[in-house]
Amino acid sequence: MKRTASLVALAALPVGVLAVFFVLPVAGMLGRGLWPDGSFAPGAMLDVLARPRVGRVVWFTVWSSSVATVVAVLLGLPAAYVLHRLDFPLRGALRSALLVPFVLPTVVVGVAFRQLLREGGPLGFLDLDGTPVAIVAGLVFFNVAVVIRTVGATWEGLDPRPAEAAAALGASPARVFTSVTLPALRPAIVSAASVVFLFCATAFGVVLILGGVRYASVETEIYLLTTVLYDLQGAAALSIVQLVAVVGLLTVAARVRRVPDPTVQRAVPRPHRPRRSDLPQVAATALLLGLLAAPIVALVTQSLRVDGAWSLTNYRNLTTTGDDQVLLVPVTTALRNSLQTALDATWIALLLGLLVAIVLTRRSRSAGERRVRAVLDGFFMLPLGVSAVTLGFGFLVTLGREPLDLRTWPLLVPVAQALVALPLVVRTLVPVLAGIDDRQRQAAASLGAGAMRTALTVDVPIVLRPVAAAAGFAFAVSLGEFGATSFLSRADHPTVPVVIFRLLGRPGEGNYGMALAASVVLAATTALVILAVERLRVRGVGSW
């Protein structure tokens, strides 16, 4: 009885927050579509789905995300091997560097790819600007780190002996890989691929900036329908489609996540020096590095060029409001807003994430309890896949009127960002908390430590670094969050991604240059945060 009560108490806050700031807005948004005039009219929604343009949008979303997922897996696998099984100088630095694209603000990545591919850009001759190839490349750029992290973490802990046994039985290295290593990696690959697909299918900033007017995904289409065409029914219909697909995908992903068999003794492999046989993998990794570096290099270079000469003018202009005063506040003020907002979002995400992780990792005493936990686990993952646009617009339509007018509440944007970062925090903390052997607590208790002291001496020291890492991650994600923020931030209190998008949309070389410089500053800030997180050496950060 006491256990149940304490669990309910722990779960109450995150469930409540999620109910008010997630379920309510999303439901409000869907309600607008399904009850257009106060009466239930699902038929109108079906009409929306029958539109040829909607069909095209869904089809484009599915195939571009599929291609991007396959490419990300193919590029990520050799890199996962090189970064997690080989031993070479600067390996740690390289691992950190490869994590940076994942947290770069979507807007920044969009700008960087435009910079690389536009007419007159370094790869302008390929004529890829505004094509699906550019979009897929942008999606791969973001998500290859998910594959490397997730598969790498599994690969790193993979017992080398089955592979050795197979080799001793006469299997060639290729055969060992396909018959032993690949099956062992399969759950990690499937898990990574489903998450990557999810991220690709709900990507907003990249598709919006790289797709231009010709290519729209479900996510950008929702944005277009709500903000430009005011077709809330259409937007709601698409949101429902997206929600159903995401829930389905998350269920599949949860199924394949395998629990390691604790009764089997594992040998931990030692990373080895690269051998000649590792050459293909090393080459593939070098290629990947080049592909990831190119847009960033293009971005940084171009931000330093004005009228064909090297100059810091674009950076100096960050203290102004741009050509023709397109901004209400200078970019430097927006940067301060961004940092403040991200800081608030971080503590909210941490608080909620810790509570959720504790609730999820307590050992279930009954089948019913276990089922409740599984449902909660899925529930807290939902923000991962629900369109940030839906969320942001839902905030506006439900929380922007009586009885709950939160439009001017200073924590509105941070809460929205925290919800976007929450799944990441939970996924970082759950394995850590679950990994604490209960016998350690029992040992502490048998030595005379009370419950409080046990928590302080056993749990806290183990959890401290992962919590710091999760905080860094939440901070970086919040800093770059664009989808929900673009709806919710007030015009006189914008964040940097919002400002960048606004600058891009206005004419003038000066404004474009400022967008580049602001992107570089934002990218550098997130990169610094992520490098600091990597110094904490928490295993499995960024893996799913």
Partner: protein, 362 residues
């Protein structure tokens, strides 16, 4: 025949195996015995081709294996916990090697493979386990499947790394005999790495004792036990008394001055000792007689009983000599315990012949 010539292996400059030379005749069983961390697993992995020797050669029938990768050596390797492929059924695991096809080799018919798998499962006593998954097997069953898998292609050499280490004692002892039975039936050459001296003595026709990367002695189990060549081997195998002293040699007899004011012990040896050279007399406790009265052994010494370890069938007496040395003597409990002639604190005589011990120079 497997032969190792002056093989050394190091990890990042730290030597794991140092100058190891060893011959393994066909159809024999050689056990590599040593404490954990002595380099015995590394030696095995080098034979399997999983580690590259930093120097020395490993040959099979005189051909250098240096450039031959693991999968082309035609050996099989079996690990402590079996390392079954957890995603494959028992039958698929056993048939793994059979389904590998080399270019130029004809494909085996599936009926042929099935029959071979069934035969192997019968050999290890697991008929009808074909469809089971490794996760559902007990530790002992997993080891049997691993053994069947290793034997599938009739390997020239089977390398076993602590094959029974994960099993509990009773099961381990049973499985030792089965392992030997299967070895005899198949005529496969075995190299077994173990830290368990009982296992090494039971299964092996030759035992190689290893310490800190060096092979200390390679010999038959009885010679390892009866005539160790070093204090390390004498001490590692079984229970032993080591008495340090200085040697005075006359012919095949040596007088060992072991303590101030005590008459020297005599021992026979084939080794030549320099006058006053430091030497160690190693005597197994069961070769020392203990009695209330003085005996007519070549060596006798009096002391008092310090401690008695009662093991049921035998008892080990710890006897303290006036010099402070404590000597262990073992006696079979052929009488009821109440009829024992002496107990704690009693003065007793210890005696042994001049051939009972081994005199060592290192």
């Amino acid at each position: 025949m497997l032969s190792l010539e002056h093989v050394s292996v190091s990890y990042d400059g730290t030597p794991a195996v140092v100058d190891a030379s060893l011959e393994v005749p066909d159809a024999s069983v050689v056990a590599v015995l040593g404490p954990s961390g002595c380099g015995k697993s590394t030696l095995l992995r080098a034979v399997a081709g999983l580690e590259r020797p930093t120097s020395g050669t490993i040959c099979w029938d005189g051909a250098d294996l240096g450039g031959v990768p693991t999968h082309k050596r035609g050996f099989a390797l079996m690990f402590q916990d079996g390392q079954l492929f957890s995603h494959l059924s028992v039958a698929r695991n056993v048939g793994y090697a059979l389904r590998l096809r080399r270019p130029g080799q004809p494909r085996r018919g599936s009926g042929d493979i099935e029959a071979r798998i069934a035969g192997l499962l019968t050999l290890v006593g697991l008929e009808g386990y074909d469809a089971r998954l490794p996760g559902t097997l007990s530790g002992g069953e997993r080891q049997r499947v691993a053994l069947a898998r290793s034997l599938a292609k009739a390997p020239k050499l089977l390398l076993l790394d602590e094959p029974l280490g994960a099993l509990d004692r009773k099961l381990r002892e049973e499985t030792q005999f089965e392992l030997m039975d299967i070895q005899e039936k198949t005529g496969t050459t075995f190299v077994i790495v173990t830290h368990d001296q009982g296992e090494a003595m039971t299964v092996a026709s030759r035992v190689a004792v290893m310490d800190e990367g060096k092979l200390m002695q390679v010999s038959t189990p009885d010679r390892i036990y009866e005539t160790p060549q070093s204090v390390y081997v004498a001490d590692f195998i079984g229970d032993v008394n080591i008495i340090q002293g200085r040697a005075t040699q006359s012919g095949d007899k040596v007088l060992v001055n072991w303590a101030e004011g005590q008459s020297p012990f005599t021992a026979q040896t084939a080794t030549a000792f320099a006058p006053d050279q430091t030497c160690w007399l190693a005597i197994r406790p069961e070769k020392i007689a203990i009695s209330a009265d003085r005996t007519d052994h070549a060596n006798t010494v009096q002391g008092k009983v310090l401690d008695i370890a009662y093991l049921g069938n035998i008892s080990t007496y710890h006897v303290e000599l006036p010099s402070g040395h404590v000597i262990k003597a073992q006696e079979a409990n052929t009488r009821r315990i109440a009829r024992r002639a002496f107990t704690w604190e009693d003065p007793v005589w210890l005696g042994w012949t001049d051939t009972a011990g081994v005199l060592l120079d290192r």
